[in-house]
Amino acid sequence: MTAAALAQLDDGAPPDRRLSLMFVCAHPAIDSSVRTPLMLQTVLGLDASDIATVFLVPSSAMAQRLVRAKRKIKDARIPFDVPDRSVLASRIDDVLEAIYGAHAFERLGRRKGDEDLSDEALFLSDIALRLLPEEPEPLGLGALLSFEAARRSAAIDDDGVLTPISEQDVGQWDEGHLQRGDALLARAHVLRRPGRFQIEAAIQSAHCDRRRTGRTDWPAIVQLYEGLLALAPTVGAAVARAAAVGEAYGAEAGLKALETIDPETAERFQPALATRAHLLSVRGDNTEARRVYDAAIALTTDAPSRRFLEQRRDRLRD
């Protein structure tokens, strides 16, 4: 779905109703694992069977879960309303997480050009940001999804190998989606209320700036990750920050940054292992790097990512 097509979509149903529906689907009383499927079915009209396949569940099981969720909404009388101001911010977060869940789910056997549910996620986020104009995080999510849609063709090469953002061919990035992302981010910025999705979008924007400047501004990205960590400390963000530190300030600094993560957690977390292996190889510790690449590969079920790690590992000479 192009950015232009997205902008022209004629929704049909009264806008308020779909927003209320999204808040219902992401209500705290609804199990978090069924919020995304519920939203896809009730707001976008997706078939339970199609949703099931993406989420690796037999269609009968997915149909059952959806029926149960809808029964709960009815029996518990979950209100069909946009929530009160006082709880709106946290409830919006739940809605955005559920939307992002459609985009972020890693489906088995993905290939170059696979669209999975990214378009659906984009569409849902568009509804949210148009109906909540005073809220910055829906704009942040919209921007984030736009940047990721822009790079979709460049993310996996013809041999099915993952290509990291900083190495992607900028010529394959979709300019329409990129401009939409930048515009949404600018609108969010004006509202002066930073949030997790805005920062993640800003990080993507910084990466995508390479099409204009010819280089990746790694120090800026490090700072953005630090902002993200202050807001939403996760191991994933800590690893990503360490990788950026490595690019900006050298492998030694990057490896040190990785050490801030609890070692027991780090040795079982695939991104931490992959980042560590890379930094070790940059530092010249090829034997150790290869061992850590092997450990990362063992935990990698995503084929494009695995091929990428194998390629990096196989290039190393003792």
Binding site: S49, A52, T53, F55, L56, V57, P58, S59, S60, A61, L108, G109, R268, Q270, D294, A295, A298, L299, T300, T301, A303, R306
Partner: protein, 120 residues
């Protein structure tokens, strides 16, 4: 190191599937097997006939005892298994998580007691 993933689920629910639902389940397992093979971790798999087709055999005091039915009468039954190669439990768990059965049943992960490289 070898791990066996035992897949437990409610057979009655599976038996009640409509043909297109059954087809969808089959293609999910097909994709899973492809992914395991592509990653070089696949060793073996089997899809077992329902527990009603099971036969139990033991020899007591020199006499053979045969009984109809599975070992245990439980809410979930053993429906199949995968044998994979993985260097540690975390890796085995990463693959178990991608197994369709983990999402509607339970996957029991058991490490092999036989030394590295030993095949049956």
């Amino acid at each position: 190191m070898r791990y066996t993933l035992f897949l437990y689920s409610n057979e009655a629910e599976f038996a009640a599937l409509k043909p297109e639902e059954m087809e969808q389940a089959m293609s999910m397992y097909s994709a899973y097997i492809d992914a395991l093979k592509e990653a070089g971790v696949f060793v073996d798999t089997d899809w077992l006939k329902p527990s009603a087709t099971a036969t139990r055999l033991s020899v007591k005091d020199g006499e053979r005892r045969v009984q109809d039915g599975p070992y245990a009468d439980t809410k979930e039954q053993l429906g199949g298994y995968f044998v994979i190669e993985a260097p540690n439990l975390d890796a085995a768990m990463a693959w178990a998580e991608k197994c369709p059965a983990a999402h509607y049943g339970i996957v029991e992960i058991r490490p092999s007691n036989m030394s590295d490289g030993a095949k049956g």
